[in-house]
């Protein structure tokens, strides 16, 4: 539900970068969104389509690269994959997990004219 605020942050970063690099238009925006982050990609796409209007990114395509979740398992003493928060270690079944990757939300790059 906070995807609107996130989309506004994205468009701020994108428009400022476009202005600094003297771009006429933004063709595409590449985001990296972790599978464990609190973002619903479809809601973010919808919000992005709203906030991009009337600016240099009005015609921009949104590309979302999903990054996998990972956690450090205290019992196994190693990094394991984690599909969802609240899941157990796929190897030992323990919940003693510390998320190490997959909660990132980044603007990676933009393609401009």
């Amino acid at each position: 539900m906070h995807e609107m605020a996130l989309a506004e942050s994205v468009i701020q970063i994108v428009e400022e970068t476009a202005r600094k690099s003297a771009a006429a238009a933004v063709r595409a925006v590449w985001l990296e969104i972790g599978r464990l982050s609190h973002v619903e990609p479809e809601a973010l796409r919808f919000a992005f389509d709203v906030v991009k209007r009337n600016g240099p990114a009005h015609g921009a395509r949104l590309e979302i690269v999903a990054t996998e979740g990972a956690a450090w398992c205290m019992k196994c003493s190693r990094t394991v994959t984690l599909a969802r928060l609240g899941d157990a270690c796929p190897h030992c079944g323990s919940y003693q997990l510390q998320v190490t990757a997959g909660d990132e939300m980044r603007v990676k790059e933009i393609e401009v004219d």
Binding site: H2, L6, E15, R19, D113
Partner: protein
């Protein structure tokens, strides 16, 4: 607007003052209030990691998915956290709290868990021992801030309008107005919502999630982000346990699945059960924050004394 609740950011008000968003001719979006005495002004306070990698990479396609080739297109690397601006403002809030030895707590929950009643009882119990200052976040109305003010504690209402969470900028502005005294406790009651406030750091020392036994015990698994980011889970309304189907042990087990370190305190804000443990947790946090400030003040005093003696020594060498 949001697909689910229609939330946007443009209707934010802090105690009746509108916080507006303007799109400038150059495309930048500014969000600011009409309070122009605001020292944050219209500045773009970006994070330390911002703009560090704005190198231009011509003709390099991302992940080999496409190549600009014949067109004028080029790739501009950004590598910025989407919430970088909020995080930078939260860091500024945190620095301000540390400088004043303020213990800031971000109270989160779904609507109706009893956050405001809990706050009222906490203020009444700690009255005379500890200054408590409150920021209330709600979409509309000042009912909650009015309830807090009735206890005698300073409170400021932030109306987020269509927004579904507080952000660091709103809290920074509210703190400027409230000016909480050194060594006080700042309670930030976030918008009742177990989803959106999870991602927005306000500069608090801890998030405390309130869950009442009239809700489901599976909420920690339904809304794992919030429980993962909270230091404490207050299980409220435990006086109602005889009348509701709520498995306390199961709930705690679910909460520990998403956050093995979460501390659980079972309370009844209305009947007082378990509240002394909660007050103890606040008092410990407040003392720790005040002591950390004391240490830094002592360190500064020692450094000042050292510099003064050096100045005196240098002066004595002058003809």
């Amino acid at each position: 607007m949001c697909t689910t609740c229609g939330c946007g950011q443009s209707d934010t008000r802090i105690e009746g003052v509108h916080v507006h968003e303007h799109v400038h001719a150059d495309g930048t979006v500014h969000r600011h209030s009409h309070d122009h005495a605001d020292p944050h002004g219209h500045g773009h306070d970006h994070g330390h990691h911002d703009h560090g990698h704005e190198d231009l990479h011509y003709g390099r396609g991302p992940a080999g998915a496409h190549a600009p080739g014949m067109s004028q297109a080029r790739m501009v690397q950004i590598e910025q956290d989407i919430l970088g601006k909020n995080d930078a403002l939260a860091a500024a809030n945190r620095k301000r709290f540390a400088a004043l030895g303020i213990f800031a707590v971000n109270l989160v929950s779904s609507p109706g868990s009893g956050k405001t009643t809990l706050l009222v009882r906490t203020i009444e119990a700690l009255k005379g021992r500890r200054d408590i200052v409150v920021i209330e976040g709600d979409q509309e109305s000042s009912f909650d801030a009015d309830r807090i003010r009735a206890t005698g504690a300073p409170a400021l209402q932030i109306n987020t309008g269509k927004g579904c969470h507080l952000d660091a900028e709103m809290v920074g502005k509210a703190v400027e107005r409230l000016a909480p005294p050194a060594g006080s406790v700042l309670m930030i009651e976030n918008v009742g919502n177990l989803v959106c406030p999870a991602g927005f750091d306000l500069g608090e020392a801890h998030k405390v999630v309130v869950l009442s036994v009239t809700e489901g015990e599976d909420k920690p698994l339904k809304y794992p982000d919030m429980f993962r980011r909270s230091s404490v889970m207050l299980l409220n309304k435990v006086d109602l346990l005889p009348y509701v189907e709520f498995d306390v042990a199961q709930c705690i087990e679910y909460a520990r699945r998403v956050n093995p370190d979460i501390r659980v305190i079972e309370v009844s804000a209305t009947k007082g059960q378990g509240m002394s443990e909660w007050f103890g947790w606040i008092e410990y946090g407040a003392q720790t924050a005040a002591a950390a400030r004391g240490e830094s003040v002592d360190a500064m005093k020692a450094r000042l004394a050292e510099l003064e003696s050096q100045v005196a020594a240098l002066k004595s060498m002058l003809p």
